[in-house]
């Protein structure tokens, strides 16, 4: 596949930019796509000439024989995302990451698409449903439907995937440790509401022969993994003592070394190899274990692939001499992993000062003015992200890990502190309020559980011993009451390519993401601050 180029108009994006400014509303909250559709722009809404961009190529099917370039740009909703293979181009034919390894026809690439920054956007899911009438292996009954027992030909049976980009994650109850031994949980769990039917199903549910809990989560992008796998630098007391409770981080069973917990939202699979085995068995329905060559291929590919936004339809090129140094995947490839960036030099994603007063371009027309104003907005957004403090309160496994409740920090100096990546380096899983009531957004589409912790256990610090949750998250692995609802913060790169956001897809777009934080922490962002923040996040 050749590297994608973009034509020079982006006229609708520029028009939308001015429309957004006049209304002080972020079209990065979805209206951009709607407007693009109205103006007759192609399926991806990008203004690409057909010869340059073949929509059928956007989907990487298992078994495709392609050359994956060392660097390629792929269209996304707001511009382009770039995927960089640090080890150079590779042929996908017979490569384990790109080959169906199980019985349902899926490969790793099915849910980790290059055109989605190695993640998977719900727009891509919907298009795939449309293009294949729901027959693509992506919609496999095992986890691409709300429950395997539902009629698979009906859209409603796949509503969580089609509406929110959510896959079913099914975990044993009580939990089992990595070595298969039983974990004695500190709580009981009861199904309060079961819209998918899976948790009360006699075969798949909590009271089945193999008691299982089904929760629904977004796939995380397989890119920039060196930042997730390296042990944290500069987080006291040391790189392998877990900040939260001063216990040791877990060991990688294959190497014996300490392992970070950053890879998965619940920290259950510690390394790409372990995750590959887990995914092959559960998501790909492989009946045989992956062989060493397959595991090595998958691991080698995953740890060298980088992804970040490279072009914005209004802001134009995001990399190069006049762009902030932290943008684009090249910066990620070269960057030092697992470092704290919450300081006045690093400001998490580096300086955006060069865009604070962006120079006028050559033509002085609308597009040029829009680019300048957009870049200035991004620079203001970076300031808000890094500087604007707010009261962070009642976040389980965060305020109670020694920071104090409340804690007053900005997005960047608080939870999103990792240089160039923006996840919590601690490593930090926390109950931001995505899963647990009362903070979680209204989600009648998700199961609701009642967790009752025993009196001997430490309570969840701000919700106590009776917790209503859509997803107990980390607690489904550790069995600890204090972990209920807590999940790992995740990287903030390639966001424009992989909506929706949060582990349960509750934010359909970046504006909803910002609105969630604003509401959860009563920040009081102004409308223009929200626009600036959204624009900033959209270029990462």
């Amino acid at each position: 596949m050749k590297a994608v180029t973009i034509d020079d108009n982006s006229a609708s994006a520029v028009a939308n930019w001015y429309s957004m400014k006049s209304r002080l509303k972020s079209l990065r909250g979805g209206a951009l796509l709607a407007a693009a559709a109205l103006t007759g722009i192609g399926a991806a809404g990008l203004g690409f000439a057909a010869a340059e961009y073949d929509a059928t190529e956007a989907w990487w099917k298992p078994g495709d024989a392609r050359l994956m370039p060392a660097s390629a740009d792929y269209a996304d909703a707001l511009g382009r995302v770039r995927v960089l293979n640090a080890a150079g181009s590779l042929q996908t034919k017979d490569h384990a990451f790109f080959t169906a390894l199980g019985s349902n026809g899926r490969a790793c690439v099915t849910c980790h698409q290059p055109s989605n920054g190695m993640g998977l956007s719900v727009d891509t899911v919907r298009k795939r449903w449309q293009d294949t009438a729901g027959k693509d292996p992506l919609f496999a009954a095992i986890d691409g439907s709300n429950c395997p027992n539902l009629p698979q030909q009906e859209r409603t049976s796949h509503s969580l995937l089609l509406d929110r980009g959510l896959f079913r994650v099914f975990l044993p109850w009580p939990p089992r440790a990595g070595d298969g031994s039983a974990v004695e949980p500190e709580f009981t769990i009861e199904v309060v509401r079961d819209p998918t039917g899976c948790n009360t199903d006699p075969i798949y549910g909590l009271n089945s022969k193999s008691p299982t809990i089904s929760v629904f989560r977004r796939p995380r992008p397989v890119a920039n993994l060196k930042y997730l796998l390296e042990l944290p630098h500069g987080v006291p007391p040391s790189d392998f003592l877990f900040y939260n409770d001063k216990s040791l981080l877990p060991r990688n069973p294959e190497t014996g070394g300490f392992a970070s917990l950053q890879l998965m939202s619940d920290g259950r699979d510690l390394t790409p190899r372990i995750q590959a085995r887990d995914a092959a068995s559960n998501h790909l329905q492989a009946h045989a274990a992956l062989n060493p060559k397959q595991l090595s291929q998958i691991e080698s590919f995953e740890i060298q692939v980088y992804s970040a936004q490279s072009f914005d339809k209004v802001g134009r090129e995001l990399t190069g001499a006049d762009s902030p140094p932290g943008l684009g995947p090249e910066a990620l490839e070269k960057g030092a992993p697992a470092r704290l960036g919450n300081n006045p030099i690093n400001r998490i994603f580096g300086s955006f000062a060069m865009w604070q007063s962006a120079p006028a371009g050559s033509d002085g027309g609308d597009a040029d003015r829009a680019r300048r104003e957009f870049r200035e907005s991004v620079a203001r957004g970076s300031d808000i992200f890094y500087v604007r403090r707010f009261i962070i309160n009642d976040v389980g496994r965060y305020n109670d890990k020694g920071l104090g409740n409340p804690f007053k920090r900005s997005c960047g100096s608080g939870c999103h502190n990792t240089l160039l990546m923006g996840m919590d380096l601690a490593p930090g899983y926390m109950d931001l309020g995505l899963n647990n009531l009362p903070w979680a957004s209204a989600r009648p589409d998700l199961p609701l559980f009642k967790v009752v912790c025993n009196s001997k256990s430490a309570p969840q610090s701000y919700l106590g011993r009776i917790i209503y949750t859509h997803d107990p998250a980390r607690a489904l692995i550790t069995g600890k009451c204090a972990d209920v609802g807590a999940s790992m913060t995740q990287q903030s790169r390639s966001l424009a390519a992989r909506a929706p956001y949060f582990m349960n897809g509750s934010a359909a777009n970046l504006r909803e993401l910002v609105d969630f934080y604003d509401r959860r922490f009563n920040i009081g962002y102004s409308e223009s601050e929200k626009v600036d923040l959204v624009n900033f996040l959209s270029v990462l």
């Binding site: 040791l248 030092a336 470092r339 030099i345 409340p406």
Partner: protein
């Protein structure tokens, strides 16, 4: 010395209080709701607690002791001589966040433009070498923003390996009330002790856990839950083993009878002791 009058804006009623400030060295031990205070737009919050009409600053405790609203805090220590902080009397001691939720602990005082915090950060944390490197990078990045993605926090210099002659070393780790979560500084020392035990080929490593009673200023006693001594000892022993200390040479014990409190520095009794005999 008489404390000045003050007004507590968020209590609903203006509360005027005055009390004789306890003399330096006075022992205190009480349970109270912490009160958070906003110290300005560019700084973290600070906390204090009130007891018998005096406000005590809960500032810069070891990391586990930072107070939390929605939880009471056990304050144990001695009045410190010198300047107050957070608008309250300074103390040397410990603050323990109590595990159970207390929703009555919910007071956050707004910024009053009088009590102002000081922003921390890369330029005043870390070793002198780390700070100097950060200053240097700041100067260079001001001229060349491309450098702003270079790590500003340099690696801490490695601890020099222990050298002979090897002599007996001990460490006492202190804990919050009813908790097995040691402080960061204590765990850094424990890591060094584990290295020492290996390099010195320790003959015996002894780990002993304790639990304790806190005698409060109001005459009541707070007793840690049974089992805490064992939990503390076993956790430390497991960490030492995982760091390479020979488990076969490690003796683990615990004293589950709670050490009695006197109201004087009872926090020192919530502990685990480690002895390394080369």
């Amino acid at each position: 010395m008489i404390r000045g009058f003050f007004v507590c804006g968020l209590y609903g009623l203006a509360v005027l209080a005055s009390a004789a400030e306890p003399a330096p060295g006075t022992a205190i031990s009480f349970l109270a709701c912490p009160i958070a205070r906003d110290t300005g737009p560019d700084t973290d919050l600070c906390f204090f607690a009130e007891h018998d009409g005096t406000r005590y600053a809960l500032v810069n405790p070891p990391d586990w002791g930072v107070p939390q609203l929605k939880h009471r805090v056990l304050v144990e220590g001695r009045v410190k001589e010198g300047a107050s902080s957070c608008g309250a009397v300074g103390i040397e001691g410990r603050a323990s966040v109590m595990a159970e939720i207390d929703n009555s602990c919910d007071v956050l005082l707004p910024f009053d433009d009088v009590i102002k915090g000081v922003a921390g950060g890369v330029f005043n944390n870390g070793t002198p070498q780390q700070r100097a490197l950060a200053q240097d990078l700041a100067r260079r990045a001001a001229l060349d923003p491309r450098l702003s993605i270079e790590p500003a926090i340099a690696e801490a210099p490695p601890v020099p390996p222990p050298v002979p002659p090897f002599e007996r070393r001990t460490q006492t780790l202190l804990y919050p009330f009813d908790s097995d979560r040691a402080s960061g500084p204590d765990m850094v020392k424990l890591k060094e002790l584990a290295t020492f035990a290996q390099v010195a080929k320790a003959r015996i490593v002894t780990v002993a856990g304790y639990r304790a009673t806190s005698h409060l200023s109001d005459g009541n006693d707070l007793i840690e839950r049974p089992g805490m001594a064992e939990i503390r000892a076993k956790k430390i022993a497991a960490i030492l083993a995982a760091l390479g200390v020979n488990a076969a040479h490690t003796q683990v014990s615990w004293e589950d009878r709670a050490i009695l409190g006197s109201g004087n520095d009872d926090w020192r009794n919530r502990k685990a002791e480690v002895i390394v005999e080369p």
